[in-house]
């Protein structure tokens, strides 16, 4: 009686601590050649465990903040390992998922890394921004093991938070471009001119992704549809975290509903979980013409194909493979890779770090998205080019000025024309 | 409905609560059940209403054998019981309580229930508001509600256990009127009481019980003296206490008023001398305990003053904290030794340590062991220093309690000092106490054993439903007089100045 009481309380208290991933993409190593098809679905579990590497064998130990099969961020980062495995005989991996204080109280990221290394891992991957300190500590403790921190910036010499540590590597994908395409498809899909954006918590990464989506939407609204930019409404509602924590965050289901019921006929997701999609499906089932744009996961449009305008996603495999190869060649050192899409084919699983799959609901308007892709690819279109103002009206980019990577990575505010908070109070 | 109990037996462990008890209650009659506490009245009616099961005997309802094993069985058979503490649900409203326990569909029809409630309440002139919270009701009102509830469930035999304790005079009048009306409707009423005057006023017939047996059944009216002799039917024991009274005043009380949610007690002036023993007689729950707790400093009186002699002479103690009473040499021995007096899981030695006022950090085991061993020897406790008190017999627990009394001891308050003890222990305990008296300790004790009161008291105060008599010299007491007073008939023997408010 007492025990079960306490245990449920433990769960309750733990829930408020949940941690999750944040979005980011790996640089596709433009090198790797052979054409394999899309990464297979989640590997069967036990197979991954014991096989010790012999000879040229190589083993990655991965630490995931959430469930490996969440159809979102964690699954995308996890499936990158399957990709490497399909390309490299003798490659194996161990992983521990749900490394967060709610699911595994009293488990530190560094501790998991220690255990994975003790089990023979040659390289460690941390998949969440929240592991930044664990990644650094692990790198210091095991100077011979490359430690990859997905989405962090400690290894960015030109960044604000550089820490000198030769075996620490950051990788991320240039999701900003895909968010532009996503925003464009949202603009093409809306009838009311009102686009809702369900944002997670407010930080540099989420600001730049929301802003990129807005830039893409604004571009297609004014340049493709030739409509008055003032008639486009783009509203961001931050729920407070990467997914719903009852009582702590806003309920994303309710946020999405409020959007749809408030005349926003397109809702873009910026969070880990698919509430925007499920609510759009409900609306469609009720006969309403409402749509969603997914995030993180390649097959996001499968949730509700008729309501899906598209899904920008990460493709981590090539970046992992590149890192492994460099490590084996002894050339992997501290580096920060913010990997671009393969502009020749943004959906090439071997070369593109990020991609965008148009949804069924976009119909033949996908041609106009392709046009934007082409413009971005050849540089004829650059949406981070002045004149651009911050949300408060101050100047971000002067006329003709092009944003530096740092300006984009560390974007301090949302942009003029967007509704919603730029920073937490 | 006629209710008939034939040759009922019931025992709890070694205690025989009912021995061959037979009782018949006629339809349309109000039948009194009279007796001291522990006479077996409550046990008997609880078997009739299904709250406990009998060991042997039969119950006939309207001449048909009835198996009443649970209260629900009782209600189905038409027997309902009103307990001394009405069994209700405090956080609920009057209406909720009224409908609780009713048979019926899943959903309550509140409007019908309100209607039914009002009709019933009007019939008996009970002024109850259906939406009132139970917590705001007086005991009398809760009782009225419970009666209405039982009637709505269709009971035709109504049992009331000590219903006049804790209710106001007007509520009592209303209750009696209602009961007479119910009897007039052909219902049978069992009225359990220890109050002679209530029984005499209300009942048609009375059955008197004593020590688990039926003494007899008589029709009312009947001379009070007859009832008293039936209740206490024996000669009182002769006093055995040697004189120990000294001239100095040990304690003085001026116009004390004490009360809890059941009862109010008023004690006018009282002076206790050093070495004196005062016995508090009366049925349990008549206010003796409140009085003892107040003298011990555990309860604070509502009004009045209390003086106790310590080394510095007579000091006013009114409103002082309990521990100051202890340092002034006041000791209190509760009746429920394991609930209030001792700590089950701790040893005799540990109790000794708890009692030492040593301000040191560490326990001096050697010293406390010696003290404990001495106490064990002196108080003849059958146990070792490290025996947990919960494992001691009742008599040895009482010896341990006595051993733990503070020293010097100016005043000691005892509740049922020899309850549950064998004769040897009883005599021994009183030897110890009288020895204390010789050294100047005053004793006030409550007991339900009249013999004990008469044997050991210098003076006796009788409590009855909050009413308190003047102290009476034990030598001036007769069994009849004592019994009448315990039954609430103070007559001219009680002083009107001592009449309790109720």
């Amino acid at each position: 009686m007492k025990i079960s009481f306490i245990r449920s309380l433990t769960a309750l208290a733990g829930a408020s601590l949940l941690i999750s991933a944040c979005g980011a993409t790996p640089t596709a190593a433009p090198t790797s050649a052979p054409a394999a098809t899309a990464a297979p679905a989640a590997t069967s579990a036990p197979a991954a465990t014991t096989a010790t590497t012999a000879g040229g064998a190589y083993k990655i130990g991965m630490i995931l903040v959430g469930p490996y099969n969440d159809k979102g961020w964690n699954q995308a980062t996890f499936e990158g390992l399957d990709y490497v495995k399909s390309k490299m005989p003798g490659f194996s991996f161990d992983y521990v998922d749900k490394v967060n204080s709610a699911d595994r109280p009293n488990t530190k990221g560094t501790q998991v890394a220690d255990d994975l290394i003790a089990k023979g891992a040659n390289m460690i991957i941390f998949n969440s921004d929240d592991f930044k300190d664990d990644a650094l500590e692990t790198a210091k403790k095991h100077p011979d093991i490359p430690v990859i921190h997905v989405s962090g910036d400690y290894a960015w010499k030109d960044g604000k938070n550089f820490k000198e540590q030769k075996n620490l590597i950051n990788i991320m994908g240039q999701m900003e471009y895909m968010k532009m395409l996503a925003g464009c498809s949202a603009a093409l899909g809306t009838q009311t001119g009102k686009i809702g954006f369900v944002g997670p918590l407010i930080n540099e990464e989420t600001r730049r992704l929301a802003s990129s989506a807005y830039l893409g939407a604004k571009y297609c609204w004014t340049n493709v549809l030739k409509k008055d930019p003032k008639a486009l409404e783009f509203k961001v509602t931050w729920i407070g975290f990467w997914f719903n924590i009852p009582g702590v965050t806003l309920d994303p289901t309710k946020v999405a509903d409020d959007f749809y019921n408030g005349g926003f006929d397109v809702v873009m997701s910026g969070i880990d979980t698919p509430e925007a999609a499920t609510e759009a499906k409900k609306m469609q089932d009720a006969g309403k013409k409402d749509y969603y744009v997914h995030y993180d996961y390649k097959l996001g449009c499968d949730i509700a194909p008729d309501a899906c305008l598209g899904s920008p996603y990460f493709n981590w495999g090539p970046a992992y493979l590149d890192a492994v190869k460099k490590a084996q060649a002894g050339t992997l050192t501290e580096s920060f890779s913010w990997n671009p899409p393969d502009w020749k084919n943004i959906n090439d699983p071997d070369t593109s770090a990020v991609g965008f799959l148009p949804g069924k609901a976009l119909g033949d308007k996908s041609a106009q998205v392709d046009a934007l892709t082409k413009g971005l690819a050849d540089g004829s279109i650059n949406l981070y080019k002045g004149p651009l103002n911050y949300q408060d009206g101050s100047v971000f980019l002067k006329d003709g000025e092009v944003a530096t990577p740092q300006q984009i990575w560390y974007l301090p505010q949302l942009l003029e024309g967007m509704e919603g908070a730029s920073s937490a109070k | 409905m006629n209710a008939q109990l034939n040759h009922i037996y019931k025992s709890f462990g070694a205690v025989q609560a009912n021995v061959d008890v037979s009782l018949t209650v006629q339809s349309g009659a109000i039948h009194g059940l009279l007796g001291e506490n522990g006479a077996g009245k409550s046990t008997l009616v609880k078997m009739l209403s299904g709250f406990i099961t009998r060991d042997a005997g039969e119950i006939l309802l309207d001449d048909k054998p009835a198996e009443v094993r649970t209260p629900a069985d009782g209600i189905r058979a038409g027997v309902g019981m009103l307990h001394q503490d009405p069994l209700d649900f405090p956080p609920m409203t009057v209406l909720d309580n009224f409908v609780a326990g009713k048979a019926g569909g899943l959903f309550l029809n509140r409007r019908d229930a309100v209607q039914e409630f009002k009709i019933l309440a009007d019939q008996f002139n009970f002024a109850l508001d259906v939406d009132e919270q139970m917590g705001n009701l007086t005991i009398g009102e809760r009782q009225q509600l419970e009666i209405l509830r039982l009637l709505s469930l269709g009971v035709s035999t109504l049992i009331l256990d000590e219903p006049t304790t804790g209710i106001s005079a007007s509520q009592k009048t209303a209750l009696f009127d209602a009961l007479r009306k119910l009897a007039g409707q052909g219902k049978s009423i069992v009225f359990v009481s220890h109050k002679l005057e209530d029984v005499e006023e209300l009942c048609n017939q009375v059955t008197v019980m004593r020590a688990g047996h039926v003494v007899g059944t008589v029709d009312i009216p009947c001379p009070t003296s007859t009832l008293v002799s039936m209740m206490f039917g024996r000669e009182l024991a002769a006093p055995v206490k040697p004189p120990t009274c000294q001239a100095d005043i040990a304690m003085r009380i001026q116009g004390l008023t004490i009360g809890d949610d059941r009862i109010d007690v008023q004690v006018a002036d009282l002076t206790v001398r050093r070495g004196e023993v005062i016995g508090l007689a009366g049925l349990e729950g008549s206010g003796q305990r409140l009085f003892l707790l107040t003298c011990a400093g555990v309860l604070r009186p509502a009004t009045g003053k209390l003086y106790i002699r310590d080394a510095n002479g007579l000091c006013e103690m009114t409103g002082k904290p309990y521990h100051q009473y202890q340092t002034s040499g006041v000791g209190y021995l509760p009746a429920d030794r394991l609930r209030e007096g001792l700590i089950w899981g701790l040893s005799i030695q540990e109790h000794v340590v708890l009692r030492t006022s040593s301000s040191g950090l560490f326990i001096d085991r050697e010293a406390s062991r010696q003290v404990a061993d001495q106490a064990i020897q002196k108080f003849n406790i059958r146990g070792k220093a490290d025996t947990r008190v919960g494992q001691l017999s009742g008599g040895n627990q009482q010896r341990t309690q006595l051993a733990l009394l503070p020293s010097p001891l100016n005043l000691v308050l005892l509740e049922h000092p020899t309850r549950g003890l064998d004769i040897e222990s009883t005599i021994w305990v009183w030897q110890q106490l009288i020895e204390r008296c010789r050294n100047g300790t005053s004793i006030i004790f409550a007991s339900s054993d009249l013999d004990e009161i008469v044997q050991y008291s210098d003076r006796v105060i009788v409590f009855s439903g909050g009413k308190v008599s003047t102290p009476i010299e034990t030598t001036a007491l007769t069994a009849g007089k004592l019994g009448e007073m315990i039954g609430g008939k103070f007559g001219n023997n009680g002083n009107s100045a001592y009449a309790g408010v109720n």
Partner: protein, 358 residues
């Protein structure tokens, strides 16, 4: 005489052997139950045990991790001995850890640039103790003067402490750049409590925990305070009648438990996480509740049981890694043990009553 007094002192501490058969039965039953659970998941119990063992003692890091878990667990269990002995279910221990961690972080943040590092660390640990005391005392005041059941008061205070920690991490104490669940900015290594090599075990923290445990044992068996606490816990009414200052005793037990838990929280900051993280308590307060319930409030057993639970807790990480099993199995094991132990105690109590012990 010497002999006698020794047997007495033992009687003051050890529970009677009567319950021993029941306890052994409970242990056996737990193992049986857990084995069945494992078999139901299709695993071999031997592989599970081997993995757990390997995960707790396989490497120096893991062994060190067991000790770094043991430290707060021993501190909190020791603290809980006081409140449980006083008859209080101090569920607020979790919040008291957090409050201690917050207080320690505050001192470190404020004084790291001003005072010499060892002084700052010492001040931080002491502040942690004070923070825990404050939190414990608040629950105590709510209990004693507000008449709020300590279970609910403690739980409420847990949520407040947790909320405060998250507010600070995401608000006033957020790290430069962006706030994150990863906690506040890590403190410089000069402010880290010394560790065994590069492991997670901080010897000083462990020593503090051992001292706290020793104090607890001594206070409980040899002092007037300990005995009075026991009396109040077993029978508040009789204790009052016997003249114990009940209110003062109850508040003292809250203060001591708060102090130990706060100490644990402070040590989590300077010894393990080196910053304030949202999950600073790591639920070890709740785990300590289990420890204390399992050992029937007898402080002598804290060390072995806490060590066992720590090893289980740390070793359980191998379950998902090696066997792809849920590591929450360790929670099931702990919960089963405690439940059945409590059940056994209930039965032996009943048997004793039936045997006429009363």
């Amino acid at each position: 005489m010497k002999e006698k007094s020794q047997s007495t002192s033992r009687a003051l501490v050890f529970r009677p052997a009567r319950g021993l058969t029941y306890q052994a039965g409970a242990l056996l039953l737990s193992f049986l139950f857990i084995t069945i659970i494992i078999l139901l998941t299709g695993e071999s119990p031997f592989r599970v045990v081997a993995s757990l063992w390997d995960g707790a003692f396989g490497t120096t890091d893991q062994f060190a991790r067991v000790f770094s878990t043991l430290t707060p667990l021993v501190l909190c269990s020791s603290g809980l001995i006081f409140t449980f002995t006083a008859g209080l279910y101090n569920l607020g221990v979790e919040g008291q850890i957090v409050a201690g961690a917050i207080a320690a972080t505050f001192i470190l943040r404020e004084f790291q640039a001003v005072l010499p590092a060892p002084l700052v660390v010492a001040a931080g640990v002491i502040a942690g103790m004070l923070g825990g005391i404050l939190w414990g005392l608040l629950a105590g005041v709510l209990k004693v003067f507000g008449k709020i059941n300590e279970i609910f008061a403690g739980l409420g205070m847990n949520f407040v402490a947790q909320g405060l920690a998250i507010y600070l991490i995401f608000g006033p104490w957020k790290r430069p750049g962006i706030a994150s669940m990863s906690g506040t900015e890590p403190f410089g290594e000069s402010l880290w409590l010394g560790r065994f090599g590069q492991t997670d075990a901080a010897p000083v923290a462990l020593i503090i925990a051992i001292v706290a445990l020793a104090l607890t044992i001594i206070i409980m068996r040899n002092t007037h305070f300990g005995l009075r606490l026991k009396a109040v816990g077993q029978n508040p009414r009789a204790s009052f009648i016997l003249g114990m200052p009940a209110t003062r005793l109850l508040l003292s037990s809250f203060i001591i438990c708060g102090a130990f838990a706060g100490l644990a929280g402070g040590l989590q900051v300077v010894g393990l996480f080196h910053r304030l993280v949202p999950s600073i308590s790591s639920n070890l307060g709740y785990l300590a509740l289990l420890v204390v319930m399992l050992i029937s409030f007898n402080a002598l057993w804290i060390a072995p049981v806490a060590f066992f639970f720590s090893a289980l807790n740390v070793g359980s990480l191998q379950l998902p890694m090696v066997l792809r099993m849920e590591s929450s199995l360790s929670g099931v094991i702990q919960g089963t043990l405690v439940l059945l132990a409590l059940l056994a105690r209930g039965f032996s109590e009943r048997a004793r009553k039936a045997a006429g012990g009363q």
